[in-house]
Symmetry: C2
Subunit: 98 residues, 2 copies
């Protein structure tokens, strides 16, 4: 998945729509155990759940690409949504990584 | 933040270390309300919390870049970690976006 094709700017037609794009790349070590669950797949659901808490997402406006290469797994998510789809509430999140 | 410089491949020196890189770009609509909290900042903490649930992260191995441009806000996260830092448990996550 070429990063650039994924993050290509949108046409200016949809003025009242916004776009969220996410790329998650996991570069694995040579001797990482093959049996271990793929980190990207583990993270994908929970990250999508975080996004869905803050943005009302229409299923057909979500593109998800997952690629597992030689030493790298890559997840690409592209979500388009109307301006008012973002929830106003400012949630308080405990910080795990400072 | 140029996507390419962020996702540049690591040197092959650290064979037993892995790397997780995330880029989150939010393309805002021209008339989105200025008073609204920045979506990227809202999502940043919760996504980092999701990652920290599955990877034991050393604080000094986490790089976070946040850029707010004309119509786009971009978050870049780069985490390096040892092979055994990934938790083995395979959590069951409810799916919000299919």
């Amino acid at each position: 998945m070429s990063v650039l094709t994924f993050l290509k700017p949108r046409g200016s037609s949809s003025v009242a729509r916004e776009r969220l794009q996410l790329i998650l790349a996991h570069e694995r070590a040579e001797r990482s155990e093959t049996g271990r669950p793929d980190l990207i797949i583990t993270l994908r659901e929970e990250i999508l759940n975080v996004i869905a808490k803050h943005v009302t997402v229409e299923r057909d406006k979500v593109q998800i690409k997952l690629e597992r290469g030689e030493g790298v797994s890559t997840l690409g998510v592209d979500i388009e949504f109307p301006v008012d789809a973002i929830s106003k509430a400012k949630p308080k999140a405990k910080r795990a990584i400072a």
